[in-house]
C-alpha cells in the first residue's frame, strides 16, 4: 500500500496516459504556476522523462514580468515546445482590467485560449485545476468536453464512473482534462517538496515579507504577508492557514457567482 501522495501521483499519471492515448493533439496549459508545473512533472513521470506534447501559455500581457522571464528560461533549460497565445486584437483595442475584471478575463484569457486552441487544432488540454480552489471547480469532472465557444454545460455533465473517462471527441469540441482535480493546495506543495521541483521564486517571501500564494495578472493578483522563504516554510504555512488560496485573486470576488460565470463561458 502506498502513501497518500504516491496514490495521488499514480492516479494522475493514469489520467495523463489515458488522455495522451485517446486525444489527438493534446497540449498542456501551463501558467508557470505551482499546479501546472506539478502537472508538467507528472507528464514526465507518465512518459519516462519525455514531454511528448506542447505547452500552451496564454499571455494576457498583464502577467507579472518575472513570470515571463522565468518561463522563457525554463523552456530553454528543459528544451520544451511552447505555444504562446494572446488576444492581440483586444489588446490593440485597449482591453484591460479597467474595462471590468470579468470582461477583461473573458477577452484576454478565455477568448485568447479558445483562439489558440482553434489555430493550433488542439484536441485536448491538460489543466492543473483542483476542486479545492473554488466552488465551481469543485463540481468539475476529470474530463470535460467544451464545444468551439468553450461553454461548460455544468448542469448536465456526463457520467464518469470508476476510471472510465469519456475521451472521444465530437467535431469542433476540445477536451479539458484535469489530472490534479482531486489534489489540494497542500498536496501540491508537499509534492513539490517531496519531488524537489523547480518552482517560480515569486512563491517565496521577499525582502518586504510578502509572497504570492496564487499567481496571475499583476493588476488583479495580490501578495500575502509571509515569512516563508523556503519550501519547508511554505508547506508549513499552508498546513496551518485559515484563509483561502484565491483570496488575492480579484476576479473571484467580483460578484457572488463570478467564477461560475467565467468558467461556464470557457475560462480555465
Amino acid at each position: 500500500m502506498n502513501d497518500y501522495l504516491t496514490s495521488l501521483e499514480h492516479e494522475s499519471v493514469f489520467i495523463v496516459r489515458e488522455a495522451y492515448k485517446k486525444v489527438k493533439n493534446l497540449a498542456l496549459l501551463w501558467s508557470m504556476g505551482k499546479d501546472s508545473t506539478v502537472l508538467l512533472h507528472l507528464v514526465r513521470k507518465a512518459f519516462l522523462g519525455h514531454v511528448p506534447i506542447p505547452l500552451v501559455h496564454i499571455d494576457t500581457s498583464y502577467k507579472i514580468p518575472e513570470m515571463i522571464t522565468w518561463r522563457d528560461q525554463y523552456v530553454k533549460d528543459h528544451n520544451l515546445r511552447l505555444i504562446v497565445g494572446q488576444n492581440k486584437q483586444a489588446l490593440a483595442d485597449g482591453m484591460g482590467p479597467d474595462k471590468g475584471r470579468l470582461v477583461c478575463c473573458g477577452a484576454l484569457k478565455t477568448q485568447a485560449l479558445l483562439d489558440t486552441i482553434k489555430e493550433n487544432q488542439i484536441g485536448g488540454l491538460l489543466l492543473g485545476i483542483r476542486r479545492d480552489e473554488e466552488g465551481s471547480r469543485a463540481k468539475e469532472r476529470v474530463v470535460s468536453p467544451r464545444p468551439e465557444d468553450g461553454t461548460w454545460t455544468y448542469k448536465d455533465q456526463v457520467a464518469e464512473i470508476w476510471n472510465h473517462y469519456n475521451l472521444h471527441l465530437p467535431q469542433d469540441v476540445h477536451m479539458r482534462v484535469h489530472p490534479l482535480l482531486h489534489w489540494t493546495e497542500l498536496d501540491v506543495w508537499e509534492y513539490i517538496e517531496r519531488e524537489r521541483l523547480e518552482i517560480m521564486p515569486l512563491y517565496f517571501s521577499n525582502a518586504d515579507g510578502k509572497r504570492y500564494r496564487s499567481l496571475g495578472c499583476w493588476p488583479c493578483t495580490g501578495t500575502i504577508d509571509s515569512c516563508a522563504t523556503t519550501l519547508d516554510a511554505v508547506v508549513d504555512e499552508i498546513r496551518n492557514t485559515k484563509t483561502s488560496e484565491r483570496a488575492g485573486r480579484a476576479q473571484d470576488n467580483a460578484d457572488t457567482y463570478a467564477m461560475q460565470k467565467l468558467r461556464s463561458q470557457g475560462y480555465m
Binding site: 500500500m1 502513501d3 499514480h10 522523462g49 463540481k139 464512473i161 469519456n166 472521444h168 465530437p170
Partner: protein, 626 residues
C-alpha cells in the same frame, strides 16, 4: 501502510434527507473551511433571508443555492482526529442519478442518510442498490432530522429495523445505524442530551472505527488477489518498447513471467521503469507502471496482464447487472461500447430473461452482453469485474460482471433427427438400491497440484466405505476417448465437454464421480456445471503454488515446457483461470492427502451427500432423497 491513508466515503440518500447539510455541517464544525468561505456563505444566506445553510459550502452553483438542491457531485477532504477522509457528496434527485453514481464510484464505504421523520424514500432504496452494483458493500446508516421527529426513540427504532432489513436483503453490510440532527450538529462528534437513549457512539467516531476496519480488510483481501494490470499504451520514445498501465490488483516484480489476455502472449518482466530512474523491485495495487519486457511483443491497449497460473477469463459474451443512467432509454437494437479495464469493444445488449422491457434512467436490468470480439475480465467483485456501457460520447450505464454464459449451447446436436429415448432404470432406483446418492466431485488445478493423487485416495476411501465410485482422470481419458484432442483452447473445451457428459452418464446410475482434469478455463467448467446440473456439481479447487508444482514435476512436464518443448502448458504459457467460488479450496502444499480427503468427506456430509455407510446392495434409508 501510512496511518494517513485516506478513507473514501460517499454520502447518499433520498432527496432532501440532508446529505449536503450533513457534509456541510461536518466541514463547518470540524473541517478547515477558510474564513472567507464561511463569510461568503453567510452573506449569501443573509441576502436570501435564510439561516446559515451548511449545504451551501458544497452546493456552489447559483442554481443549486437558489433551488436548495444539489445538482452535481463533489468531494472534499476532511480530517478528524488524525484520520483523513474523502467525503463525496452525491445528489439525490433521480434526474441527477448519473452524478450520484459518478461520485459513489470512488467510494469504499457509504453513509446512507434517511430523514427520520419521512422515513425511507424511493431514492433511499435505489441508492442502496447502486452502492451494491458499484461494490460499495459496507454502509453506515444515519437517521437524520431527529429534531423534527421529537428525538423519538420509537421512531428511530422503527426506521432502523426497516433499513437494516433492506441492507441485508441487498447482500450488503449495515455497519451501524446512528440517530443525528445534521442541521443542529447533534450526535456528530459528541453524544447529544436529546438522544440520551442512544447507547452507541456518535457518527464521527463510528466513521473512524468502521472505515479503519474497512481499510484493514481491503488491505488483507488485496494481499491474496491475483495480479491484474490493465494495459493503457505501448510507448516507443526510443528503440525500446514500454508497456504502460495500471495495477488493479496484486503485485508485479522484475523476473515475473507475465501473460497477456486475450492475446495469449507471454513474456518476462525485465524492469519496472520510472522517472527519475529508481530501479523499482516491486509495484503494487493502484500503481501506474511502465514495464520493460524481455521480448518486444506486439500487444495493444485493452489487454490484461496477469501471472500465467492466475489468468482472467476471456469471452465474447458476459452477463451483468446494470444500472441505467441516461434519460435516453436502453435501445435493445442499438450498438453500444462496453469498457472493461482499458478494453473497449462494440456490443449489443439482450435481456437475460428474454423480456425486452423498457429500461430508463434509474432502472436496474440483467443483461447478456454480446461483444464483437472477446475481452478478458474477472467477476464477482474481484480483479477487473467492472464495466461501463457507453454511446460514442457518453457513459449510459454501469455494472458488475456476473456468471458468464457458456459460449456454446449445451445440448447442441449436429443432426436434427435425434429423438431422446426415455424409460430406462431411473437414477433414484439406482440410488435406492445402493443406499447412497450420486454426485460429481469436479477437481480443477494446475498440473502437478495433486489432483490424480487425491482422486486415488478419495476413491479408495469411498470404495472402502461402501460407495459406488468412479474416477475420470484427465490423462487416462486423453489416451482413449479423447485421444483425438490436443491442448488448444477449443480442444480443451471439447475435452471438458466429453468428460462432463461421461460424468453425467455415470451420475445417472447413482455413482459418486470424481473427475481429475486441469480444466483451466472458467467457461468450460461452467459448461460442465450446466451439463451435470448445479445441484450435483461440486467444484474442488486443488490449489498449489506453481513453484511447488514445478519442483514436484511428477511427469517431467514443467521441465519440458520451460525448455520450449510444450507450448500450451497451463500456468506457464497457457492460461489457468482459478475458480472464483469453488465448493472447496484444498491447498496441497500445506495439507496432507488424508486431511484433504477428510475435508471432502465433511463437505459431502454438509451437503447431505453421505449417508451412514451401508453394505453394498442393502436397501438402507436414504439420508438425502434426491
Amino acid at each position: 501502510m501510512t496511518e494517513f491513508q485516506q478513507r473514501k466515503i460517499v454520502i447518499v440518500g433520498h432527496v432532501d434527507h440532508g446529505k449536503s447539510t450533513l457534509l456541510g455541517r461536518l466541514l463547518m464544525d470540524f473541517g478547515k473551511v477558510p474564513q472567507q468561505t464561511i463569510e461568503k456563505v453567510r452573506k449569501t444566506c443573509e441576502s436570501r433571508g435564510v439561516q446559515l445553510e451548511p449545504a451551501f459550502f458544497l452546493d456552489a452553483f447559483q442554481e443549486e443555492q437558489e433551488q436548495g438542491i444539489s445538482i452535481d457531485t463533489t468531494r472534499v477532504n476532511f480530517e478528524f482526529e488524525d484520520h483523513r477522509f474523502l467525503l463525496i457528496d452525491a445528489p439525490g434527485h433521480l434526474e441527477f442519478l448519473k452524478n450520484m453514481t459518478t461520485g459513489a464510484s470512488g467510494a469504499e464505504t457509504g453513509i446512507l442518510v434517511i430523514d427520520g421523520y419521512e422515513g425511507i424514500g424511493s431514492q433511499t432504496m435505489r441508492h442502496l442498490k447502486i452502492l451494491g452494483i458499484l461494490g460499495v458493500r459496507r454502509v453506515i446508516v444515519v437517521v437524520n432530522k431527529m429534531d423534527k421527529s421529537g428525538y423519538s426513540q420509537a421512531r428511530f427504532e422503527e426506521v432502523a429495523s426497516e433499513i437494516r432489513g433492506h441492507v441485508e436483503h441487498e447482500g450488503q453490510t449495515c455497519l451501524s445505524v446512528v440517530p443525528i440532527s445534521a442541521l443542529k450538529g447533534e450526535n456528530l462528534s459528541a453524544p447529544s442530551e436529546n438522544l440520551s437513549w442512544y447507547a452507541g457512539l456518535p457518527l464521527l467516531p463510528q466513521m473512524v472505527a468502521h472505515t479503519t476496519a474497512t481499510a484493514v480488510s481491503i488491505a488483507e483481501e488485496s494481499e491474496h488477489e491475483p495480479l491484474r494490470m490493465v494495459l493503457q499504451d505501448v510507448y516507443r520514445f526510443t528503440d525500446e518498447r514500454f508497456y504502460a498501465g495500471r495495477i488493479i490488483s496484486g503485485t508485479i516484480s522484475p523476473g515475473a513471467r507475465v501473460f497477456f489476455s486475450p492475446s495469449g502472449k507471454v513474456s518476462t518482466v525485465e524492469a519496472i521503469e520510472t522517472f527519475p530512474a529508481a530501479g523499482l523491485n516491486k509495484a503494487v495495487k493502484g500503481d501506474s507502471v511502465a514495464l520493460r519486457l524481455k521480448d518486444q511483443i506486439f500487444v495493444e491497449r485493452g489487454e490484461i496482464i496477469s501471472l500465467p497460473d492466475q489468468t482472467p477469463e476471456v469471452n465474447n459474451e458476459i452477463q451483468a447487472k446494470l444500472i441505467w443512467l441516461n434519460s435516453e432509454p436502453l435501445n435493445w437494437a442499438a450498438d453500444y461500447l462496453i469498457k472493461v479495464g482499458t478494453a473497449e469493444v462494440s456490443c449489443r445488449l439482450e435481456p437475460s430473461n428474454s423480456v425486452f422491457s423498457q429500461v430508463g434512467n434509474g432502472d436496474f436490468v440483467d443483461v447478456d452482453i454480446k461483444m464483437q470480439k472477446p475481452i478478458s475480465f474477472d467477476r464477482d467483485g474481484r480483479g477487473v469485474d467492472k464495466l461501463v456501457i457507453c454511446t460514442t460520447y457518453e457513459t449510459v450505464a454501469c455494472g458488475a460482471i456476473a456468471t458468464p454464459n457458456p459460449s456454446q449451447k449445451v445440448q447442441k446436436t449436429k443432426s436434427k433427427n435425434i429423438v431422446v429415448e426415455a424409460g430406462f432404470v431411473k437414477r433414484e432406483e439406482h440410488e435406492e438400491r445402493q443406499g447412497h446418492r450420486g454426485t460429481v466431485l469436479w477437481m480443477t488445478g494446475l498440473s502437478g497440484a495433486g489432483k490424480s493423487t487425491l482422486a486415488k485416495a478419495l476413491e479408495r476411501r469411498l470404495f472402502n466405505d461402501g460407495y459406488r465410485v468412479a474416477v475420470l482422470d484427465g490423462d487416462n481419458l486423453r489416451s482413449g476417448v479423447c485421444a483425438d484432442l490436443g491442448f488448444e483452447p477449443e480442444d480443451r473445451a471439447e475435452n471438458i465437454r466429453r468428460v462432463a457428459h461421461m460424468a453425467k452418464l455415470l451420475l445417472n446410475t447413482g455413482m459418486v464421480v470424481i473427475t481429475a482434469c486441469i480444466s483451466p478455463y472458467e467457461k468450460d467448467r461452467r459448461l460442465a456445471e450446466e451439463v451435470i446440473g448445479e445441484a450435483d456439481f461440486h467444484e474442488l479447487f486443488v490449489f498449489c503454488p506453481i513453484e511447488v508444482c514445478q519442483q514436484r514435476d511428477p511427469k517431467g512436464l514443467y521441465k519440458k515446457a520451460s525448455g520450449g518443448q510444450i507450448n500450451d502448458f497451463s500456468g506457464l504459457n497457457a492460461p489457468y483461470q482459478p475458480p472464483t467460488k469453488p465448493r472447496l479450496r484444498l491447498d496441497s502444499s500445506t495439507m496432507s492427502i488424508a486431511d484433504e480427503v477428510e475435508e471432502i468427506i465433511s463437505m459431502m456430509k454438509a451437503h447431505n451427500l453421505k449417508p451412514a455407510p451401508v453394505p453394498i446392495g442393502a436397501r438402507g434409508d436414504l439420508v438425502g432423497k434426491p
